[in-house]
């Protein structure tokens, strides 16, 4: 019994060290689903580049507004139906952390 729980703990270890599930989900979304228009390396595609440089000078509020509400008249969709404001804050921090 003890042995089993040790084994379970060992299996769980790598997961503990890794990112929380919620963040993994958001990173995945950012890489792949935002990436389909903004590029997986965020250098732009149909959508504008989302590198830290490209967003320099834009306020967090402004970016959060764009992400939650989209840009009418362009393919940038409103993400409010799928993302919470907390998710969007995480995404903005992540965007600013990569050149």
């Amino acid at each position: 019994m003890l042995r089993l729980s040790m084994l379970l703990a060992l299996i769980a270890l790598p997961a503990l060290a890794a990112e929380p599930v919620a963040e993994q989900r958001l990173r995945h979304l950012l890489d792949h689903d935002c990436g389909s228009c903004h590029g997986m390396t965020r250098k732009g595609g149909l959508g504008l580049p989302l590198t830290a440089e490209a967003l320099d000078g834009r306020s967090d509020d402004d970016l959060a507004y764009v992400i939650l509400n989209g840009v009418p008249g362009t393919p940038m969709p409103p993400w409010a139906p799928l993302l919470t404001p907390g998710d969007v804050d995480w995404i903005i921090r992540e965007l600013r952390s990569r050149p």
């Binding site: 689903d33 228009c37 732009g44 595609g45 008249g73 969709p77």
Partner: protein, 389 residues
């Protein structure tokens, strides 16, 4: 005598490189977009034969094939154009030809490869053997020092390439029938924000979808002098469009009999259009925003996949009753579908399960799966012989 034996021995040593001769008609490639590599697959054996690495950013990557079905040309997102030898599973040639690109096409004669570029906006055309630059066609300036992004680049009969300019609302035809210097015909004011396009299987019509307006634009390639014409004008007028989390694709669209099936944009519908009048005859309600609507060869059914949040589902439309005949759930992130040329099987890339699934298209049962790292596009060599793919 000894010398002869010795040289035979040397030949035998060198021989393993050239294994059993084989055809390429059963081969294909699967894009593993996050890892920047492609898998070479055998569609009949449902086997992964080899992996070719070092292809750069493959988000939204697409591929075309040489007429002899030996080489695949893969168009990456980062401007990379890679020629892969399917028999040796190696990179035969590779150029990074722009900063940001979105697909391409191979000419009717198989000698030219054209790439659509976002940055710098335009089309570049390469020699299919050497990948040396043959022609550079910069797009129209948008007014901020940059050039329009190019989308919906397709091949058309007469060694022509046809493409759309997203930012400046144009369709251009580049005719290479006289050699390396194209004759370019420009159609302007075609409708706002063309985002993708297709060429019908017979090579006659180029159809571009508009993002900025409800409707599509049609160019009759038999009669380019007649100019472009709007079709399905205002099909959803007055309704609030729904958010589109992934742009629909028109290439690989579906024709069954005299009906064509197209993904609507901003509506959870597949539009049914009658040919040759190009009038809408139905709109079939589906699960979500359709991305691809692909006809099973033979045209009996159309398979549809969806954008977020419905991308775990595939629906199958009966082309006689114009209703949804089946709803399948292969798993999260169904990005692409590719039929075998006779339509008995369909391969699905299921990104978030890291696998490619093989389904029986008639019974709609899963037959098996191959592991693949975040698979996106699946391309079989039979595309080599189709116009507009």
């Amino acid at each position: 005598m000894n010398r002869l034996l010795a040289s035979l021995f040397l030949v035998a040593l060198a021989w393993p490189a050239a294994a059993e001769p084989r055809g390429t008609g059963d081969l294909g490639i699967v894009i593993e977009r996050a890892a920047g590599r492609v898998a070479v697959v055998d569609r009949a054996k449902v086997a992964r034969l080899a992996t070719v690495e070092g292809l750069g950013d493959l988000s939204h990557a697409a591929a075309v094939f040489s007429p002899d079905e030996r080489f695949a040309y893969v168009f990456g997102r980062d401007g990379g154009l890679t020629k892969i030898d399917l028999l040796t599973a190696t990179v035969a040639r590779r150029v990074v030809q722009s900063g940001n690109s979105i697909g391409g096409a191979i000419s009717e004669d198989g000698r030219l490869i054209a790439v659509a570029n976002y940055e710098p906006g335009g089309v570049r055309v390469f020699d299919a053997d050497s990948l040396e630059l043959v022609a550079d066609i910069p797009a129209t300036e948008r007014g901020d020092g940059k050039r329009s992004k190019v989308v919906g680049l397709e091949d058309a009969p007469g060694n022509r390439f046809v493409f759309s300019l997203y930012d400046t609302d144009e369709i251009w035809v580049a005719d290479f029938s006289a050699g390396a210097t194209p004759a370019v015909t420009r159609f302007t004011g075609i409708g706002r924000q063309p985002y993708d396009a297709l060429v019908t299987e017979d090579g006659r019509f180029y159809v571009a979808g508009l993002f900025g307006e409800d409707g599509l634009v049609l160019l009759d390639l038999w009669h380019p002098e007649r100019g472009t014409r709007r079709i399905l004008d205002g099909y959803g007028r007055g309704e609030q469009p729904l958010p589109v989390y992934k742009m629909p694709h028109l290439e690989g669209w579906a024709v069954a009999g005299n009906l064509a099936f197209l993904p609507a944009i901003g509506r959870h519908e597949v539009l049914v259009v009658e040919l040759p009048s190009w009038k809408q005859v139905a709109a079939i309600p589906v699960k979500g925003q359709p991305v691809f609507a692909m006809a099973r060869p033979g045209g009996r059914h159309v398979w549809v996949n969806f954008a977020l949040p419905d991308n775990a589902t595939v629906q199958v439309i009966d082309t006689e009753t114009l209703t949804v005949a089946d709803t399948l759930t292969p798993g999260p992130g169904v990005l692409h579908m590719e039929f075998s040329p006779r339509g008995d099987r369909v391969w699905l890339s299921v990104r978030d399960k890291d696998e490619v699934q093989v389904w029986d298209a008639a019974s709609r049962r899963a037959l098996g799966a191959l592991p693949a790292d975040k698979p996106s596009g699946i391309f079989f060599t039979s595309r080599a012989h189709r116009i507009g793919l």
